[in-house]
Subunit: 152 residues, 4 copies
């Protein structure tokens, strides 16, 4: 699917919002692709991101998938709006094992209030990529609220 | 629902497995309830767990919810087994705002291979609790694999 | 949870809308409980509602669960509004086998635009009830659209 | 993705199983594509398949989507096995309005026990197709149980 962004400055808007997500710094994630309706987030492996078997924790895969989908939706929103996750569902189809994860959010349907995204997380191990999670997500556009932390 | 744990040492088994989840130390989560079919995890607020509006990130709510449900299921498994998340779905119904989160995992249906859990995350703000997420999760019992990181 | 319906005539509004759902007549479902935030739908067994093993088809369980949740949400909406399903997720935890199904929709969170419901489907076999599905659903309130089929 | 079916007679096995689904006859659905990992089901519009606004009921979209995904998974299973839906999630992204629906089930990940499928339902109106639902589904392979209704 091809989308056009209404806001010409969507990329800097998304990158600024991503930079405000404290959790992305904590885990070491970076945003590596920002296009209308499509955002990718990468996350190198660290011991402190694991579950009990030493793989990336499913919640960490979900964290970067949720942000990738949320920002994919947000690329298409007007500059004055904000974005919230309504819900998402994720299937963990293989161990999230490797030197890094790549989460991809893709808009499937852009609506006035709700936008639906497809999520995919791939694990890169020894340079080879393998899908480890698939998801579906509903995002909501909030017109009355500017993005960014409220002052104070 | 009331469940009986087949393994009398389920609590120490769950706590040991939880201690191996590197990500729980990273975010500062602790396991505060372990009963047959029921596990609660708490997470105090920190700036580095937030999304762009300064609330807990949905992925962080999901991370503790996923572990709470996973360990709720694991309480009912035999000692020789392991547990994996097949999938989960989560609805974020209110901002995850407050001094801490409490994630509760409750087994709804314990099957031989698959176990289904209900997830709830509440935000505690000024001492008052409010539900901020509801979820549903499918866990899988793996008999051939001991829990814990494979050696070397 | 206890809810109050803003519209005093919510019950007749829900029953009239249910009566317009052609598919409920086709499958033989009836609405057996209508309270603020809570709706139950019953469906007697018939051979022509089955999947390949002779149980109720998962889609049929989903159909009555979706309507039960949708109408549970709709009890709390103003009379001038309409209701649409945004999404739902359902876990089939036991065969839907027996003389009838009962689907229960319960509002978990009533919001201005979105309402989240919990779904449960039980199968009644030889007079004994057993849960066969659990779900979670997001409903949307549409203010600009009256319920009922558009003329012409 | 490209898959190979282990059972050379997968197509006749799927068609025979589909013919045993009483509900497919009731609603008038037919299976129009059966390939390894891919099944399509079509459903012409009828008044008795509708919700209160005169569109196809979300549960009916879900019914054919669930069977499309289930049979897509089943194409890859051995002849001696059976298939059950573990869970699915569906987003209704546009009114299911038109002269027919087409549900497409596609295997995303084929596992030994669990198989994950992507679901799409499109509505065809005046000959033009538009996506009206996206879903994600988990199917389970049951080795001890032959497909088809138990005798007696």
């Amino acid at each position: 699917m091809t989308f056009k962004a209404a806001d010409p400055d969507f990329e800097s808007r998304i990158r600024a919002s991503f930079a405000r997500q404290g959790v992305m710094r904590l885990i070491g994630a970076s945003i590596v692709r920002v296009e209308p309706g499509a955002v990718d987030i990468e996350l190198p492996f660290r011991e402190d991101l694991t579950q009990q078997h030493g793989y990336f924790h499913a919640g960490i895969s979900s964290t970067i998938a949720d942000s990738a989908g949320g920002y994919a939706a947000y690329t298409l929103f007007p500059a004055s709006s904000s974005v919230l996750t309504v819900e998402f569902k994720i299937n963990l189809v293989a161990p999230a094992e490797g030197e890094k994860l790549v989460a991809r959010g893709r808009v499937k349907k852009a609506g006035r209030t709700l936008t639906v995204c497809e999520l995919e997380v791939a694990a890169v191990k020894d340079g080879r990529e393998r899908a480890c999670a698939y998801g579906l997500q509903t995002m909501m556009r909030i017109d009355a609220m500017a993005d960014g932390r409220p002052a104070g």
